[in-house]
Subunit: 335 residues, 6 copies
């Protein structure tokens, strides 16, 4: 098993109960999560030694974040305390034809307001195999774009593999801003989660696949040509029948070859938030464990499918449980 | 935006939680609603000035009704207090193959027991664009049949458009009784919600469409011939796959033309009660706003579809939210 | 209506709420049930006089079991108290692709530890039409295999029809052990619930149907040849699309003829536990009432389908409600 | 143990959760109860054979009543079905200084509307030791006053002891009406629950105790002189500090002697409804078991005190549990 | 009845359930409230025409605020939408010896960030009898100190009585800052809620009462001398036995006379938040209705006591209910 | 801060909700806890490095235990997996006069069934300052008595201080058995939690204090004479007014001096389970930190008092929070 650092913002999510609008909700479900924290928890569940680095306020909410992470045996020695607030957001849970709706209230959070790298980086990256971060962090502020680049360079220097999830959020920055930044950072990246839309709208890939090419494979190939350091591309393809029923397929590009998982019919979906992070966690686990590519993408997609069956941002299944799920097929009681 | 009066009974609904029978329920959900109140709330949500006229007992339940309506900015100046009780009913929520089951306990309610029109009608209908009521009210008692006709005549005299939803309830009166009454009232009606079954079983339309005619359009046309004052017919077609999954299409007949919405796949259904009222609210909004017929039926059916995704009798979506839903398609998170 | 005795273990089931893993659950739903108790409750709901014989500890949990049975008018005069504990198990509820998971904690229960038949059997079987038990009981211990045979012989001697549900549980005994025992007991049985897998893996039927034979009918026929006392075979065929969606068909073999119900699409499933017992209850009701075979299998499968729509182990529908469900088709509100 | 019949109305109570007003409650707790049913359940819990006679509608609510009673092993063979509705009431739960508030909605219930005694009385009273009823029943209608007298006379003729709880409800009839009726019925009564207020305001006792007399004992003595058939008087004295804290003392007059229990400090009170019925159940148990008077009043008051610690109308404690509570004193964990 | 404007910030409060720490809470109760909104709702409940002026974001939380106010018939025509966020805070509910704990997250709210008076003040104050605001508003920013003074001057010019609740919050500004501001504003105030601590620590009253003077009356008198425009002073005295049990007494100074209510024993307390606002609402109602001073302080303190018995920030009792509570004394069921 | 090992059984507790009996509970609260685990969590919350050693089954319940401990940063490297089951017990929560009731179902647990010390003791006790265990462990089996003595001897040899909480459980062993064992182990103990009843009934102290001696101090002195290695005695005195209201005082004997805390009025009590463990945690923290004796007992009793205000077995307050509570007094909101 490997040693991993993930770094990013972690927030408090308030969700409505299914079938209730936010305006009528007298109680809200509280979950803590963030893309990088979620990946970290997945990897800890799969047996890796994981450090999550972030910053939270020095109050009960910051303490709740810490306890949430510790519960899954994620190391919180680099979870700084200070600053003004924990970022929050409100999720009006979708159902059937009605999509979920999000209200962000994350401005001014302890993490977003950081303007220096307050961690001891030599300690943070000491003997670390993999450093994972996402495009949400540089989207928080111009300052964080600089800091993110610094982090990646330092991690690389310390010998870590760099894993980066593009994770574009249109509410935080424009496609032009994101594209500009991505072109800088992707030269330092080893494993990259990005999809067709990212290739076209952020990275400016203008070539198009022929009718009989696999589109995803095509764009992975194009991105590889622009960013030759990247060894692995991966992302999911999701067909959204409704907020309650999606089809999910995982895709992976490694060493010039393209792999796809079987399609998972997610119906009904309990909680979609964190599904992509569970997938990333699965892929990174496979890479750390040097699994076969097909096994990696099968495992990762199964992990993502399982995430959709539980409330909360983080995947709660061990390596053994994911493998048993893959082996068993769908829906039978074992008794 | 227009000024609207809706008038009818409003009741307390007790619903079981999904998967529980009434006999085993230790707690019940309490919702307030009635066909005309629900239409009123929809129209208020869409920005119209709405008065709901009714009568409730002078106790905490009557007060709860008042607060429920006020919450949506429905004017309650014509919500009288007095009489003996608030009508109630029990809904054992359906699921999958098992249909919902209803126990009515509405006899003797403050509204049903009214035997004069206790409102100042000249004040009630002052500068009102639209008066909406339904066939549930005359079904309550012979007295209410007389009063309903009086109301409609007075409203018409005051210059209101008359909107009438047939809303046949077999537990309240026979088809013969309903048919007899409908034939009287429909001569005063401008906008009428009625379906094929109403045409055949209540209004005695015996003609039948040819194989290549649209049945709904055919019956609208037949009813138009009998009741020439009616300018608009509308209703929904519902295919019931199960209590949890229905397909819904809206139909509209206006100025000799027939319009249909796209089909909405409602799956899963959170709460079906009030779905038809949300549809009526949408149609009436479109008529008040003089929208194009196709836009009206699309809007109204979208509103009805959204209603099925929330608990409670009333639609809780603004005009902007319905339009955004129409534009966005199904089930994606916006973040 | 008949007089029936069912006998077996009854346990406390702890279930998670949908979408929660056991490890994260701060509250668990408590249901009492067992295959034979569930069948007993179904038969009591259908109007039969039912005695449930078992043994529970002399504490609040034993008392809860008693009250649970009494609620459905099941006679508890033969529910002994004593011994050490009530058996329990934990059900992590499945959803979509993720199957339910069970942790048994039933060792050492008051019932399992019995080593003599502590009931007065002449009183227990006095004027009883039907004695029902299942293969779970002999699986509890070698002692219980002996006791089960004794019970069946005595019941038969007292003039009861013997109903036996194979109900193989791989966590309790091996296929070889079960097969050995079954071969002894099935010579005393009149009505037997067993499926293809039981025939092949437990009873060692090695013949195989031809391509155009109905497999289920074929194996019923084979078992009939081995165990000629058995008059009736029945079981369900279940296609598991996911933990939330199954297709269910009932099958019945009686007097040399094979019958099948229509297929029920169970979607969504609220609680699958006890679905088979509801089916058995329906079949036994039909046999006691001497209904036509096709009516029996239709009724029983409808009862099983309804069970899947309610929480808890036991079916909660009366004969009239099952019949109305059969007549009404799927999912419409009656109002 | 004895055989007991209790007879009266049973209703559905909707209670708010503590700290919520009725107007703001989105869910309500559902409990079934009535004075005579509650006494019956207490006596069944104490080991007696109890029949509860009443009438409920033939729907899910009537069935819920039946199951509620059966749960406690109360015989429901004389629970008739028919009529229009189950009476209901709404209880806004009190807390601290704020008293509970009640809205009755019981008019027109299946029981209240009865106008003949639909039970086979010779069967109902066959070998019955004790017939218990209350002043709520004759308060329902003039017809029920006649029927109540008939019942008591027939029961007496059949050899039952008659137990009557005055239970005056000012919302159902006036003091004058009640007094007039009581003077008729009390000549047929053996055991009577009545307090000082009943003596003064309903029975017109004008004598007053001297300063050093026990008031309760004084009025019992006065009532005995007017109604010489009554062997036993009993009632509770309650000091209401707040809705959450009461002091309770039981009083008993038997064979010319007056007895009092120790004072119970009820703090906090979970649910006060049914406290008096639990007390009556305790007294009647003591009388049936021919316990010593002091033991009777201690037992009955302990039973009443325990009732205040559980939700719902009915006492849920066995004879052994009440006795253990009496022996143990207050509030220690046994482990 | 009068016409009243209240103006201030309204926030979303997240409360834990009793007995749960914030760090362990998986769901939080959501209540909307603010000192001035709460006073407004109380006055609306007492029958006055109330406008609440504030600013909330244009999202579902802002809409929830609007619906919350409308429910109580508070006019929201001056509830502006815009800005970045709704202020929130977290309340870890206290119990027994453990006090409640608060985490504020209100910086940057739509209201706090206002830097001009965006309302049409001539319209806002048109024919208004009373304008109520509190010391929380100027504490939000230096800008708001200026705006607050402007508001008060304009309101006074428009002929409104000015009501000001000092409501000092040490987490928002220092005593010196508050004192400096108060000395400016109190010259424009007619009715002032302030207590001994305010007089001593904010207004710099250095005189001290003699041993036989009533301290509260003494300080009211001192403040009157400094701010001669103030006609009425009022505040509560609270003895905190624990978070669950307080004693509350209301005090009032008017026309040179001092009045006190009886002491209310609040035990247990359901929710203390908004207790002071309910008191202010009661006093202002009494002043608007020109009640006798003793009646005013009795009514206001009763209203405050009742507030402590319900969840949420706002008092939910009508004038009639408060009066009935005053008349009835403590804790008896009315049935 | 110190390094601490605690060792013992950890169980799953099922609690009823307040005001519900076990027999009527449809859901139960699940908490994990055990005396030694609870002490460990307290010490971890106070900043110490804590290892909890135990054994749990290799299933979801064992995993839930692990996550529960990790959440509080308790090291679970010595939490073995294996064996048959997790011990459970049922707590019917007490209220007012009604005491809590417990049903144990702990026989055959993975921990209780251990018959060798499966941990590497040299690793377990490496550089550990304090080893804490309780009298519950040796009460589980004769085998465990031997193992407990072995553990203590080895720990002592490794240089740990030994802390032992007598924690007598009459349902597990007799006073004679306990006394016999205690006399062996107490010669190896440094810090001992034992009270008067332990001294008299288990250790056979027959001397009695004079009227003007402090009884607790007297018995501590007596025990010191018998077990001279013990440096510190401590326990709480609890006056049980009711299940909802207790008075609690902490007592401490150290270096020949006796200390008492102030009395804490615990009213209402949310959850009493673990109160004693929170106290032990506080004392051991004080000893590890070499606080002054009076400060130790004040801190420990405050910690115990706080525990009674939260659900669950374990104290959830940091050192800073306990100190702030001590400083602040009772029940005021800080805002």
């Amino acid at each position: 098993m490997g040693k991993v650092v993930t770094l990013g913002e972690i927030m408090l999510r308030f969700s409505t109960q299914t079938g209730h609008r936010l305006t009528q909700s007298e109680q809200l479900q509280a979950h803590y999560g963030g893309a990088e924290a979620n990946v970290g928890i997945s990897l800890a569940n799969f047996g890796h030694e994981v450090v999550f680095a972030s910053k939270v306020p020095d109050n009960g909410l910051g303490e709740a974040v810490r306890k949430h992470l510790q519960r899954y045996r994620v190391n919180t020695d680099f979870l700084l305390t200070g600053g003004n607030r924990l970022g929050t957001y409100y999720l009006e849970t979708g159902i059937g034809e009605r999509a979920a709706a999000v209200i962000y209230d994350r401005t001014g959070s302890s993490f977003a307001e950081m303007d220096t790298l307050e961690w001891d980086l030599s300690e943070l990256f000491h003997e670390v195999d993999l450093f994972h971060l996402s495009g949400i962090t540089p989207a928080l502020s111009p300052k964080w774009q600089t800091l993110t680049l610094d982090l990646v360079k330092q991690a690389r220097k310390a010998g870590c593999k760099i894993s980066f999830d593009v994770n574009y959020r249109g509410k935080l920055w424009s496609q032009a801003q994101a594209g500009h930044f991505l072109k800088q950072i992707l030269s330092y990246v080893d494993y990259c989660s990005a999809g067709i839309l990212d290739a076209v709208h952020l990275l400016g890939i203008t070539a198009t696949p022929t009718a009989d090419e696999n589109s995803t494979a095509f764009y992975y190939q194009c991105m590889k040509q622009v960013f030759p350091t990247i060894e692995v591309f991966y992302s999911t393809k999701r067909i959204v029948h409704s907020a309650s029923a999606n089809d999910l397929t995982g895709t992976l590009w490694i060493a010039g070859q393209y792999y796809e998982s079987e399609l998972h019919e997610l119906d009904p979906i309990i909680d979609r938030v964190g599904g992509g992070d569970a997938f990333s966690g699965g892929v990174l686990h496979g890479l750390l464990e040097k699994m076969e590519p097909q096994a990696i993408i099968d495992f990762a997609t199964a992990a993502a499918a399982l995430k959709h069956t539980v409330h909360g941002d983080c995947n709660q299944f061990t390596q053994a449980e994911v493998e048993q799920f893959l082996a068993a097929g769908s829906g039978k009681i074992n008794r």
